[in-house]
Every structure is written in C-alpha cells, then in structure tokens.
C-alpha cells in the first residue's frame, strides 16, 4: 500500500486540520482526472482562446466579460506607461506610490460612474476588505446576504462589527433583521449586483429602498456587472434605478476592465478620509503604472461599449437557451447576467464533466463547496463580448457531446 500524505503527519502539525480536504483531493486525482485547480494556460491567443495542456481551448470561464485584455489601445497605454514610469511604484498610495496614472485612473472611474469620489486599491479583494472593515467597527451592525463573496465576509471579520446574515435575495428576511437592530447603532447593508456562483441578480430596487427607510448605509459590490449591465454599464444598481441611493459601489478591474485592481466610488462628502484610515489601502504597494494605465484606458472605452454589451447579452441568451434545450439544469431559469451556471449532480461527476469539456477544447470554472451555495457543484460559464455567435454554437456542441458521454443529460 502506498503511503498517503495524511498518514505521515506528525502530532502538533498545524496543517493536519486540512487532512479531509487533502484526502478528497487525492481521491479525485487518483481517478486519473486532470487537476481542475492546477490548470496552466501555456499561451493566450485572444480574450476567448488559449493553449491549455497543448490543446487550443475556448475560454468560457474567465470573467473577461468585455474582452478588453487584448484591446490595442489598452495594450499601447500599458506599454507606454511601462516605458515612461517603470515596472512598479515600490510604495504605498499615501507615500511614494501615487503616480499621475493612479490619479487618471480615479478620474476615469469618477466619470464612468458620474460620482464625486473614487479610490483605487491593489485588488478587488482588498477594496471590500478595506472599505467594509473601516466603515463598520465594534458596535455597528452589518446586514448582508448569506451568499456574499469571501472578500465581503473577510472585511466583516476584520472590522469586528456585529454580523447579521439573511437568506439569499430574501427581501423580507433582510427587513426583519434591520427592524430588530437596536436603536442608535450604525448599520451597513451589503449587497451584490450579480452573485457570481449562480449568475443571479439581486432585487436592489426593493432592498435599497428598505435599507434607506431603516437609516442604513448601503454598499453594493458590482464586480460582475460593471461594463455590461445598466445603460452606461454602471451595474445592477443603475439598471434598477437606485444608484443615487447607494452610498458605496465596490468594483474590480479583473473582470470587464481586463487587468487587476479594485475600487470604491462614492458621493459621500467625507469619503476622502478613507485614504488615511483604510489599512488595506495604506499598508500595501500601489498598482504598477502599466496596470493603472491599461485600467484607465479600458474604463474610458467601456463608456462607449453599448454595441459590445448588446452582443454579450445575445451570447448569454443563446448559451442559456441552448443548454436548457439540451436538458442541463441551470442556476437561473432565465439569463440574468453574463454568467451561466450549470448544476452538476456531485463533485465526482462535475470534475469528470469538467475534464471531458477540457478535452473537447473548452475551459469552464469548476466551482464546489464551500464556495458554492447549498453545497452544489457547478460548471460556471462566463461569456465574453468577443465570443462570436459561431463560437457559442461550438460550445453548445461540446456540452452536448460531453454531457451525453458522462451521462449528465
């Protein structure tokens, strides 16, 4: 019998708490499956295609919604900034790490959202971590959706506020919790525009109105809707007409914008003080000049992305409709965003289906507990405005073959 990793753990090993997970992973890989969490993109050909494990692969799980990663203007801006300002800032935003490019990037965000203030963080994770932990401290109450992203939960934990979750997208459950908060306590309601696991949209119109009625401040994470949802691509809060009542919008550059970084925009008159008191903003190096230059250029181009948005909707509707016709079970009964989540019966068959698709030449995200709601295993597809209508048909053919071969449909 071969010795497994968990057999040789010495006592007092702090890693032994992960033994169950190590076991699950070893069992999965022992079945001969390619490791879903160790894929290497050997060459990236375009926003929608790459070479993975030697195969040309259609990318359908990258959140690159607007396909900006290879935009010629974006690449030129990055190259220029790299030559003019160097490879990195080696400093915090509040010391030597604010270059002209960081200011221009924040200007682009203020224009994009038509808001007074914008603050750029080094990642989207840090934007949530920093803003939430700084806003809501000991004695304050945070009311949030149970399916919130890990960065939101981590921000809650870091700030020491009282954390009160409610059932996913349940307006009544949210209201009950707001009503019970002791009078005089500070209240922050945290919502997401699009929830990334199932691709469903929040009823922000009702929720934001109720939050305001109870005197709560509202933060909406629009990571998965920026650039795509809403007339100007400002997100679900724009689409549902409540953006003016939202106190803080959080977003990321690592999805529609096509690079890396995070931000918060706000109309709060005192917002700028956050730059001095928000630790994940202060105690880390700022984004490299080339990154903020690509982000600023991309954000400005997204302001005029109406045609791309229309094509992305067509892609989402076609993929959702096609998969439904084939008999797959999806996360939402109608397409609500650029995410289409295909529900798998269990992790083993989900991983097998994931591998079958990869061998067909298609990359999707395999999502599994604890990141998923209700312990589901999901094959999460995210569409890109650069996917052609033909590519979407090709994808449907791949799903049909793999689904039949694996006995999923």
């Amino acid at each position: 019998m071969t010795e497994t990793l968990t057999d040789i753990a010495p006592t007092g090993d702090l890693l032994s708490k992960f033994d169950d997970l190590i076991q699950t992973r070893e069992t999965l890989l022992a079945s001969g499956i390619e490791d879903p969490f160790n894929l290497v993109m050997e060459k990236v050909l375009s926003p929608t295609t790459a070479i993975c494990n030697g195969r040309e692969t259609i990318l359908l799980g990258t959140y690159n919604y607007m396909g900006m990663t290879f935009d010629p203007d974006v690449i030129d801006a990055g190259k220029q900034a790299l030559s003019d300002y160097g490879s990195g800032t080696t400093g915090s935003r509040v010391l030597n790490g604010t270059y002209q490019g960081h200011r221009e990037c924040e200007d682009a965000l203020r224009e994009f959202y038509a808001m007074d203030h914008a603050m750029v963080f080094s990642t989207g994770y840090q934007a949530n971590l920093g803003i939430i932990a700084t806003l809501a401290g000991k004695g304050d109450y945070i009311v949030l959706d149970i399916d919130s992203h890990a960065s939101i939960w981590d921000g809650c934990a870091m700030g020491n506020a009282e954390v009160v979750p409610f059932k996913h997208n349940d307006v009544e459950a949210m209201e009950k919790r707001l009503r019970r908060i002791p009078e005089g306590a500070g209240k922050l309601v945290i919502l997401e525009g699009v929830y990334s696991m199932l691709g469903d949209v929040a009823p922000l119109k009702e929720m934001v109105a109720i939050a305001k009625r109870y005197g709560a401040m509202v933060l909406v994470d629009e990571a998965h809707s920026m650039g795509f949802i809403g007339k100007n691509g400002r997100g679900v809060c724009e689409e549902q007409g409540v953006i003016d009542d939202v106190d803080f919008v959080i977003g990321t550059f690592s999805k529609s914008v096509g690079t890396v970084g995070g931000f918060c925009v706000s109309n709060h008159p005192k917002f700028d003080i956050m730059r001095l008191v928000c630790r994940p903003y202060v105690f880390t190096a700022s984004l490299p000049p080339s990154v903020v230059a690509t982000a600023a250029t991309s954000i400005r181009k997204l302001m005029h992305g109406a045609n791309k948005r229309a094509h992305l909707w067509e892609n989402s509707k076609r993929l959702h409709g096609g998969l439904t016709e084939l008999g797959f079970q999806l996360g939402t009964s109608e397409p609500q965003s650029a995410i289409v989540a295909v529900i798998m019966p269990d992790l083993e068959r989900g991983a097998a289906m994931w591998e079958a698709l990869l061998k067909e030449g298609l990359y999707v995200n395999l999502a599994r507990p604890p990141a998923t709601p209700a312990n589901m295993t999901l094959l999460r597809c995210s569409l890109c405005a650069e996917h052609s209508a033909e590519e979407v048909e090709t994808v449907l053919g791949m799903f049909e073959r793999a689904g039949k071969a694996m006995g999923i449909i």
């Binding site: 109450y141 954390v163 919790r177």
Partner: protein, 80 residues
C-alpha cells in the same frame, strides 16, 4: 418569559432540524451531535430570531456551541 418557557419553544423549533432524532440535552452540540452545517445553522437561527423577535449575530453564534448555551442566550436577549 422564564427559562423553562424559552426552553420549551426552542425544543419545538429544533424538531424539524433534528433529522436523526438525537436526544436534546443541555450539553448537546450543534456542530458535533446534531451535525448542523452552515446552511442549517442559518435557517435554524432565523426561526429562533423570528419566534423571539431578536437578533443573534454571527459573533454571538460563535459563542454558542450547545443547546443549554442557546437557551440561556435567548432567555437573556428576550428579557433585555
């Protein structure tokens, strides 16, 4: 409401969540004996919050490991 009345109401609420029919004592733990996962905890907590019109924040939940602690905490909250 006295502690016995709180106990009685929580005992009724816990029934549908006690899938294995575990005998409930003060020392019965939610994670260990009752095998509640995070979703079950959320639904169960919501039932109690609605019944007693209180909030049990996640910070407070972290301090409550067994049935006896829950009854004591709810009794204290609905009194205040």
């Amino acid at each position: 409401m006295d502690s016995a009345a709180v106990d009685e109401r929580i005992r009724t609420l816990i029934e549908p969540f006690n899938k294995k029919g575990v005998t409930i004592e003060d020392a019965t733990t939610f994670a260990g004996d009752l095998e509640f996962d995070s979703l079950t905890v959320m639904d169960f907590v919501a039932e109690i919050e609605d019944e007693f019109d209180i909030i049990i924040s996640m910070n407070q939940q972290a301090e409550i490991e067994n049935y006896g602690q829950l009854v004591a905490a709810v009794h204290k909250m609905q009194d205040s």
